[in-house]
């Protein structure tokens, strides 16, 4: 199969970008989308042109490095699948595929399809941790946790921090990311001491970075490669309300 690519090219953060059209050579339908880009880049390199820069690392759907808005949907056509796990067999021979970077003010383009997601790290640094004494690993099951909470915390912890939620949202809101991170700790006993301080600080870091607000459109949930649920946003809203009503410097 062959496809045509309409790809965003941008030299660096300061330069203006533009779309360029590329035709792929004959492809194996079982190539991944990123392997297809590798093939196109090899061609460009041989021709002496600058290869298309794109983010990737594990290529097995667990690191959250790959990005790309493919035909209007972050991470391409499938539900619950990252770009690196998307295969060319999901497209038709002769398709024109539009490939764009994540677009949000807090995610400036570094080059072509690569953006920096440091704003998400800032949110984590603000409260996405617990304070414990380090030492030997504690015995398994020494702290009782209900099955329900353990499952929910695990669902939240599935977030790989790729930022697709921000990319999809019409407001470029990072609420799904922040909510998943707030919840994965807030649901467990180890996360309780800092629970309310955490939610306040993480929401403030999120606002400070310039992400938008939640309009409950559900785009984030629909594109999340880990199917993180909007339920966690409600949980964040609840915790933030309690945190604000509790007030006091010791929670600030």
């Amino acid at each position: 199969m062959k496809v045509k690519l309409k790809v965003w090219r941008q030299k660096d953060t300061r330069s203006a970008g533009e779309f360029r059209l590329y035709e792929t050579p004959d492809l194996n339908v079982n190539m991944s989308f990123l392997e297809m880009l590798d093939v196109v880049n090899e061609q460009l390199t041989l021709k002496g042109e600058e290869p298309i820069a794109f983010d990737h690392d594990c290529r097995e759907g667990i690191c959250g490095t790959c990005s790309l808005v493919i035909n209007g949907k972050p991470h391409g056509p499938h539900r619950g699948v990252a770009t690196c796990q998307t295969y060319m067999r999901s497209f038709q021979d002769g398709d024109i595929i539009i490939v764009e970077p994540w677009r949000a003010r807090p995610f400036p383009v570094v080059k072509d399809l690569v953006v920096t997601r440091q704003a998400l790290d800032k949110i984590m640094q603000a409260g996405g941790y617990i304070s414990v004494r380090t030492g030997a690993a504690p015995d398994a099951n020494s702290i009782p946790i209900s099955k329900e909470n353990a499952d929910l915390a695990m669902d939240a912890a599935a977030c790989i921090g790729c930022g697709a939620c921000v990319a999809a949202c019409k407001n470029a809101s990072a609420m799904l990311f922040t909510a998943a991170k707030v919840s994965q700790l807030g649901l467990l006993p180890q996360g309780q001491p800092e629970r309310y301080r955490r939610v306040k600080r993480m929401v403030e870091a999120m606002d400070e970075a310039g992400f938008g607000a939640c309009t409950v459109t559900g785009s984030c949930e629909a594109v999340c490669p880990k199917n993180i649920s909007l339920d966690f946003i409600a949980r964040l809203n609840r915790d933030y309300l309690v945190a604000s009503l509790k007030g006091g410097a010791k929670h600030g």
């Binding site: 808005v69 972050p74 939640c214 459109t217 785009s219 809203n237 609840r238």
Partner: protein, 257 residues
């Protein structure tokens, strides 16, 4: 206090304001629809209800100012958040598709809301202020009186008002926009306040849609049925009484022929 102030400055806190004010307006909209349906109980029932509201005096003003406060809070927080939301995506995508999986209602909250606000202004001038110039009938709605009680004849006012087809159409279209707004807003407010669980969400979101359809039907049946001829005999009767009362000379001269 400082904590509350910080809360209201955050995006999440502004959503609380939007949701709480929206919830108040939503309750009002539901109550108002039920009140309007008394048109179908006849002139006594509707005019008694209207007179009861008028006779509340100061309490009526408290309610009016309360509603105004809700509208100011709602539009204020909507505008502030919209500015922040637009700033968060300075360069838009070029794929030309709407945001993935976002419903029409959720994408048109601001535009639809502004249309509703304009409608509310017209509606107040039309039936509350009774500004003659905007009802397009040439009749002064403020001076319609119920022949039996001498109170304001709201029943006749509504029948006259909606006998102008383009006014009725405007009401029905505007209420359509309100209900589109609420089909998303009435469930979003639960989410924004954190009042949601996995099990309850389908009930909340489907309930919001169903109630919006009921609101639309309940509101638009009033102008709709007047257009289709409901209450015409009441107006004819009223005009007969009025011409008998106001122009006796003309009537007698006619009788003389």
């Amino acid at each position: 206090m400082i904590s509350l102030w910080r809360m209201l400055n955050s995006t999440v806190g502004k959503k609380y304001l939007m949701a709480l004010s929206g919830a108040g307006l939503f309750l009002f909209a539901s109550g108002h629809m039920i009140g309007n349906l008394q048109l179908f109980l006849g002139p006594e029932a509707l005019n008694r209800y209207a007179h009861f509201l008028q006779s509340l005096g100061e309490i009526l003003w408290v309610i009016r100012l309360g509603l105004l406060g809700l509208i100011v809070l709602h539009i204020g927080s909507a505008l502030m958040l919209t500015l922040e939301n637009k700033a968060a995506r300075p360069a838009d995508y070029s794929h030309g598709k709407p945001p993935f999986a976002a419903s029409l209602a959720s994408r048109t909250m601001l535009g639809g809301g502004v249309l509703v606000a304009l409608f509310v202004v017209y509606h107040l001038l039309h039936y509350t202020v009774c500004l003659k110039a905007v009802n397009f009938t040439g009749i002064d709605f403020a001076h319609l009186t119920d022949p039996e009680t001498g109170h304001h004849d709201v029943y006749a006012m509504v029948l006259y008002g909606f006998s102008v087809w383009y006014v009725s159409l405007f009401y029905i279209v505007s209420v359509g926009f309100l209900c589109l707004h609420l089909s998303h807003g009435a469930s979003a407010m639960f989410q924004s306040l954190g009042l949601r669980s996995h099990a309850w969400w389908p009930v909340i979101s489907k309930g919001a849609m169903i109630w919006s359809v009921i609101l639309f039907l309940g509101y638009s049946v009033v102008p709709g049925s007047v257009l289709l001829g409901y209450g015409r005999s009441y107006l004819e009767n009223l005009e007969k009484i009025q011409s008998a009362a106001s122009t006796p000379a003309e009537v007698t001269s006619k009788e003389a022929h």
